[in-house]
């Protein structure tokens, strides 16, 4: 689009100093590099919180099993519960040292986002993969990638010829 075609849109520009400058005066900037000692403390904090999170994650993954059949039968509330629990796991598990569980949860969320009608076998395989990874089985990166590829094939087979909702 050239200038002649550009529509006139009223615009106001607001320019305020940075938060750092407002707090500590002109030209102040916070250091971009994180002090390694502070980083260590932050990692320690995550390790400390991991104990509590791990217990919660086991309960969450266990609870997913109970939502599978109702979700496959079309129960919207069960589907919401399944999705929101899996969504929380995909957001948190990686931070707390369970990246593989997070990857399987991400795959399950994507399945629920993309298909209106969902199959219990697909959901069960996802949850079982999460459960196994939580137990330390199949948590290896290569094995996890293989499992994810298998889950993709299972989804394709289960929904052969069906268009995804997404």
């Amino acid at each position: 689009m050239n200038d002649a075609q550009t529509p006139d849109v009223p615009a106001r520009f607001l320019r305020l100093p940075s938060v750092a400058e407002r707090k500590l005066g002109p030209d102040f900037t916070a250091p971009v590099r994180l002090d390694p000692r502070v980083l260590d403390q932050m990692q320690d904090t995550i390790r400390e919180l991991t104990v509590k999170y791990s217990e919660n994650l086991k309960v969450q993954v266990g609870s997913l099993f109970s939502f599978i059949e109702p979700t496959a039968a079309g129960d919207a509330e069960a589907r919401n519960q399944l999705y929101s629990t899996a969504h929380e796991i995909r957001g948190l598990a990686g931070t707390f040292g369970y990246p593989t569980v997070g990857r399987f949860a991400h795959s399950l969320c994507a399945y629920l986002e993309n298909y209106k009608s969902v199959v219990s076998t697909v959901m069960r395989f996802h949850v079982e993969a999460m459960y196994d990874a939580l137990q330390g089985r199949g948590a290896d990166d290569i094995l996890a990638s293989d499992t994810l590829a298998s889950l993709d094939r299972l989804i394709a087979l289960s929904h052969d010829g069906e268009r995804s909702a997404g």
Binding site: A20, K23, P31, D35, T45, T95
Partner: protein, 164 residues
């Protein structure tokens, strides 16, 4: 020096997950942030924002009843310039382009895909603190001015151009 800046900060953390709220709040504590306020959805966050007037908002995207996108739009619509220009960092497990675009269109300053790492959180926070708060307001959009010339790069790392 950085520690004294963090001590002066009030940061609002919004997430419907108790674990995520606790995690981010604790990491901010370690950084020395003076006051960390938490809220579990956009509605509670809105009330706490008006009460505490935080320097930065770190918010999840998907929450009920009011999500992070609506919260960002409400914050950008506040009448007072100082409040409206608050840096908003969205932290979300939704890594799809559509979610990032929606965040941008809602006036979000920066976007972090979960899982969160301490280093990433620090880098985005410092970026939000150091960057001049430049907003552009049009009838359909209020949010950070993202034009190239708005991203002032100064200091020794600025690339020097030599004409020969």
């Amino acid at each position: 020096m950085a520690r004294s800046l963090f001590e002066m900060l009030t940061i609002l953390v919004v997430d419907d997950s108790l674990h995520m709220r606790r995690l981010i709040a604790r990491l901010l504590d370690v950084l020395g942030v003076g006051q960390v306020i938490v809220a579990s959805d956009g509605e509670e966050a809105w009330a706490k924002f008006l009460e505490h007037r935080p320097d930065v908002v770190i918010t999840d995207a998907a929450m009920k009843p009011t999500d992070g996108f609506v919260l960002a739009q409400r914050l950008r619509a506040i009448g007072e310039d100082e409040l409206r220009a608050v840096p908003i960092i969205m932290v979300s497990a939704h890594s799809e382009l559509s979610a990032v675009e929606r965040a941008r269109d809602s006036g979000v300053t920066d976007f972090i895909c979960k899982p969160v790492s301490p280093r990433l959180l620090y880098e985005r926070l410092v970026g939000a603190l150091n960057r001049p708060r430049k907003l552009i307001e049009t009838p359909g959009f209020v949010g950070p001015d993202r034009r190239a010339d708005a991203l002032a790069i100064d200091g020794p790392e600025r690339r020097q151009v030599t004409f020969i």
